[in-house]
Amino acid sequence: MLDIGPEELDAIEIGAAILGTGGGGNPYIGKLRCLEELKKGRRIRVMSLDDLADDARVVSLGGIGAPVVGIEKFEQGEECLRALKALEQELDCTVDALISVEIGGANAMEPMLTAAQADLPVVDGDGMGRAFPEMQMCTWSIYGHPMAPAAMVDDKNNVLIIRHTASEIWVERLARAAVVAMGAAAGLASAPMSGAFVKSAAIPGTVSQALSLGRAVLQSQREHRDPIEAVLAHEDGRFLMTGKIVDLERHLKGGFAVGQVHLEGFGHSLGDSGLIDLQNEFLIFRRNGVVEITVPDLIVVLEADTGLPLTTEVLRYGQRVAVLALPSHDLLRTPEALGVVGPAAFGYDELTFDPMPRSR
């Protein structure tokens, strides 16, 4: 069992944003909330997936809303805890552990602070291994565990139970409609899973991954070493290019921020041009017009000097960035998964996912 303290939270904040691949919301507010829980004497404990009993009840939870609302209307504070309690009451059961639905971005923090409030452990893993725009894109749904019954609670303590849905996408549709009425911020806990299922379907070790990624960046900053190299040395990643943003298009399509980032290479990448497609997250990377990386592999954009991750909404003309790719977990590379999170699921019917190789 790993105890998370302030130093770990600083690192997870950076690591979770890296795994957010441009989306997932900013983990800063969530980090502050975790620190508040620690100040109250509560503990954030992370347990390894291996230590989970097969018959344990595990609930996946997180915040749902819009990133801009997250920085303006913070939560009352117990939304996810109340959703968890509502679920326990609805199903007349007790939950043994929590897990993040999405390690990339703000939802890395939400289960940790809820676990501190509920005095439960957080499982070291998550349902995406990165960030995705919609809930049904998690491995729980992909591998056959329905999210309903799910409970949703807002800042005013409105409690909504979604008892049954016709398919997984309906949870996303209904929750998305409800959250708008709730002021675009709510906590959502989905149907308890067995420990055995979580062990088979969770992307393993992603809390520790975020922690060590963030530590690598912080340590390289302290030692005035190149943070990009530190990330690559630490992760099984690939350097794609260093480039300067020379054009940037962003517009709205069906509630999502959609656009393209044009890069002109510098340093080792002098002479190359890069193009990244984004839909809340970075999806496709092309070098000189040729596709090199596609979703679900992770495309990470870091500020070239500091190694700090950049989200799609803070990108700006003239920024100097480093683009890296991290391989997605095998659970995201199966035919079942690619049907939900592969290029075609984002409208790229012409592209087939060509998994980037792993070196270790």
Partner: protein, 521 residues
Amino acid sequence: MPRIGVDVGGTNTDAVLMQGARILASTKSSTTEDVMSGVVASIERVLADSGIACADVDAIMIGTTHFTNAVVERRHLASTAAVRLCLPAAQCLPPMVDWPDDIRTAVGAHGWMAHGGYEFDGREISALDERELERIGDEIREKGIESVAISSVFSPVSDAMEREARDILATRVPGGRFTLSSAIGRLGLLERESAAIMNAALQPLSERIVKAFDAALSKIGLGCPRYFTQNDGTLMDADFVRAYPVLTFASGPTNSMRGASFLTGEADAIVVDVGGTSTDVGALVKGFPRAASHAVDVGGVRTNFRMPDVYSIALGGGTIIRDAADVGSIGPRSVGYRIREEALVFGGDTLTCTDVVVGLGLAEIGDAQVMHSFDRGTLVALKHKIDEMIAAAADRMRVSPDAIPVLAVGGGSILVPDRVGDLQVKRPEHFSVANAVGAAIGQISGEVDRIFSLASMSRGEALDEARREATEKCVAAGALPDSIELIDQEDVPLAYLPGDATRIRLKVVGDLQEHSGEGHA
């Protein structure tokens, strides 16, 4: 219409007297311990040198680091009450939650959360509770607090509740000074609220400073209107600076950039301001500094109000080179203001960047003879490294592929080569007092940053509405209506929100409305 510009920095106090576009007199002297005696001496000098009579001076513009220093040093900060309208939302993180302990203590750490606040679409989170606010007002008064910062969730969408809460609290806190977060910051509750609290804590100091400047000016015999420069390069009158002292933060680099633009006639450029210890690099867009889009740290507190986007590197005229044979040993330490004793060309025994430039015959300062003991190849290699450092910083701030010029200003600008990367360098006359020139040419601005719904209007209509609002604010702040122009506009669509919500940020500026001569209180 003669104008005087004064820039009070941590090290130097600079002043210029300008008539139209001409600089009639300028002076640079060390900032005095009491600040005001140096200001008086500088103004008297430019008046004497130019031969202009006090009565003929049309306006005086002052840029000062007083308020930034107060925050950084945690001095002169008033005990402040922070009241946030949010309940039941947002209570998980109370006001000042991410402040360093010493500054939270310096302002007293008094926070309250009350009902109120808005959703993203303007609905109320909950209604304002008059009783609750009256009770909070009583507690504030009982604690003897007179500075109050009021924030509300989504106040950039509507500031009505913040204003209403102020009116209620004012009945219970007689003589209270109020800062509304909607008047200062953008979306991002913690950062906007922190800026408002800092502002409230600085208000008493700002009243004293304005009074001290008034006393200094009347001692000289100057009865003209006086203005303070804000960090976007525009002006505020004395009432405004009393109400919003935080808006002076970082006005020094801003004034330098604006002055460089004016002196060279370039509106779009990279400005490289080289001092003794560091180099500030910024980007000019339409004659104004580009604003930072990220949270900016002030004295350890994250804020998000408008600040110029400045990138600083540890390279200046006094930067120490530890080993002449190692180009990696340049900086970060500097001999700073002791350059005239410690640099080699001034008879000292420390190798500095200034020595390298003098040794290569690129500037004539001090005694170049002492540099003859260095191998020319060594100096060329060092200079090459200095050029590279400047080029990398300039490239970082470059905003377009166009071949815009680099403007070199500041006392250490001899370090800047004639070309930075592929960009041509311009060196204006009076480069060492560019900051005071920047103060003297100040204009008036108006700004809008809020969410618009494109469900009921087109993007063009929303931009027009934002522009109309900004123009109204600009005129209210004292601008000549006919002179107002748009200088900055950005719209960002917001993911996951219905009704095609879009965040529009827009700024206009105009020339200062001429005053009719009577003193401006």
